[in-house]
């Protein structure tokens, strides 16, 4: 029996937003769209439209609704109430009812799709990014006060880095629109895609907040990374002056990757929860969706010379110098020997490791000892933002450590 293609003949029944129309209609849309991006006249018209509606700061009036939707760069505000996808996403994330569907729809529009800042998620994402990094960094610094900064950067990246946020978008079941536009379902993530074949690593990172960023060979010290770079230890883009910013409405030719767009979306959701439902709801959302993820921090360390670091650490902390001793061994002359080596400082065993050679076992033991030191976590940790709750107990200072070993 021949299988019928459901999509093809059920199109007339589906909501008009679910599909962009028949083939003829689609062709018409595309040709119009091409004109709208190419000709300045149409563009100015759409710009005026958007400006008017933003000035009125209300749902666009009826004369705007008569305009064809494909002229708009992103779905109109009133389309949010009609989208089944958007309502399902709102319910799936258990978002507070005070957060309206219109804001969620706005969080799904990337600046690359709609450059008008009244309709895209840029401002929400900026707020959400600040909240996410603040909550994550205070959690990390209070829970693990002795972590080296490189590991803190890596842990920040693992919790709220763009890669994790893109994974979360996928796990939330958010689908992406092929091309952004006014006629697209507002429940889809809308962004301008990068042209296929573009080499993303081709152009060197320039225009950063770091001085002398063109000197690629200069050494980047840890201190300078703290001062100049972003919360993941990567170079951050310098803010563009308002006079040099592209005017709103101008079509941006450069697209963004799906990862960047997804990360912006998750940040915008966080920002919109904060704005509409307040701080406690935002914090709860952060704990439920971000802190509940599993991250083994002891996997983030990469030591180059653990034995040397350990001896420096013992010297700094006035411990007795570390001594490696064989605890047990087997098959020293065989093909696969095993040595178990412990590192002792006086009577105290700092760490233990097993390896196929004495050196390997010793460095594993030193790594275990260093991780035991760095991963110290005090009990009953409170974070500074918990003081913002109603009726919070008096603040007790948290453990502040001397810092990592400097070699």
């Amino acid at each position: 029996m021949k299988r019928l293609q459901l999509q093809r003949w059920s199109s007339s029944v589906l909501s008009p937003r679910a599909r962009t129309g028949g083939r003829l209609q689609q062709h018409l849309y595309y040709s119009l769209r091409r004109q709208s991006t190419a000709s300045p006249a149409l563009q100015v018209e759409s710009e005026q439209l958007v400006d008017e509606s933003s000035l009125n700061s209300s749902i666009p009036s009826s004369h705007i609704r008569q305009q064809p939707k494909y002229i708009l760069p992103s779905p109109p505000v009133e389309a949010a109430r009609e989208s089944a996808k958007l309502a399902a996403l709102h319910a799936r994330l258990y978002l507070p009812s005070r957060l309206p569907l219109e804001t969620l729809a706005r969080a799904l529009v990337d600046p690359s799709a709609d450059s008008n800042s009244n309709f895209n998620n840029e401002s929400l994402a900026t707020l959400g990014h600040d909240l996410l990094t603040y909550y994550t960094s205070e959690h990390l610094l209070c829970t693990y006060p002795r972590l080296p900064l490189t590991v803190i950067f890596a842990a920040m990246y693992a919790y709220v880095g763009p890669k994790t946020l893109a994974t979360m978008t996928r796990e939330w079941g958010v689908e992406m629109a092929a091309v952004p536009g006014g006629e697209v379902d507002p429940g889809l993530l809308q962004f301008q895609r990068v042209a296929p074949g573009t080499d993303l690593d081709a152009e060197p990172v320039s225009n950063t907040t770091r001085p002398n960023d063109s000197r690629m060979s200069w050494r980047k010290s840890m201190t300078s990374r703290i001062v100049y770079d972003n919360e993941f230890g990567d170079p951050s883009k310098a803010p563009v002056e308002p006079s040099q910013q592209p005017t709103p409405g101008a079509q941006s030719t450069q697209g963004v990757t799906a990862e960047q767009a997804s990360a912006t979306f998750v940040r915008a959701v966080m920002g919109s929860i904060y704005l509409h439902a307040g701080r406690p709801a935002a914090k709860r959302f952060f704990e439920q969706h971000f802190l509940s993820r599993h991250l083994n921090i002891s996997d983030l360390f990469n030591f180059s010379q653990p034995a040397r670091d350990l001896s420096r650490l013992c010297a700094r902390e006035n411990f007795e110098p570390p001594v490696a001793k064989i605890i047990s061994e087997t098959g020293r002359k065989s093909r696969h020997p095993v040595f178990v080596v412990g590192i002792y400082s006086g009577q105290d065993k700092l760490g233990e490791g097993a390896g196929a050679s004495l050196l390997e076992a010793r460095s594993r033991a030193a790594v275990a000892a260093l991780k035991g030191w760095y991963l110290y976590s005090p009990l009953n940790v409170r974070v500074p933002s918990s003081m913002e709750d109603e009726g919070a107990a008096a603040w007790k200072p948290v453990h502040v450590d001397l810092g990592e070993v400097i070699v």
């Binding site: 309502a87 399902a88 799936r92 994330l93 803190i152 693992a158 079941g173 993820r293 991250l295």
Partner: protein, 137 residues
């Protein structure tokens, strides 16, 4: 630099913090003419509104599929889909099938051999022959 950080991605644990229902869309296909869709049509008329209200997380689509048996299709977050043919079924049976699709994770059915699956390390640790009461030959 004494220690470097390794970039990683924190893994999700659905249900530890927030729970995301894995079924994101249900498609109901019916036929107006054929007798095998009688139960499905009654289900769509009487039960589906309350089902949709009880499960706002799921996007629901209803569309005809003329001269064919009625089908329910579930679309899942992992990208898979499950289809169940509900020909000649009563509305209550169809409601059970819809619930089954709603509660499914979208994964292929697997036989679980171990009672517990965990990403945490064992608290007790792995037995080592080199520790404790060593026997010498």
């Amino acid at each position: 630099m004494p220690v470097q950080g390794i970039k990683a991605v924190a893994t999700a644990r659905n249900g530890v913090g927030a729970f995301i229902l894995q079924c994101k869309r249900l498609d109901f296909h019916y036929c107006d003419w054929a007798g095998s869709s009688r139960g499905m049509n009654a289900f769509l008329k009487h039960t589906l509104p309350s089902f949709a209200k009880a499960n706002p997380q799921i996007e629901i689509r209803v569309s005809p599929r003329p001269h064919k048996h009625p089908v329910i299709k579930g679309h899942y977050i992992n990208g898979r889909e499950k289809a169940i043919c509900v020909r000649n079924l009563e509305p209550e049976q169809i409601s059970n099938k819809a619930n089954l699709l709603k509660e499914a994770s979208g994964e292929k059915l697997k036989r679980t051999k171990k009672p517990i699956a965990s990403i945490n390390e064992s608290v007790r640790g792995i037995w080592s022959p080199y520790h404790g009461d060593n026997k010498t030959v």
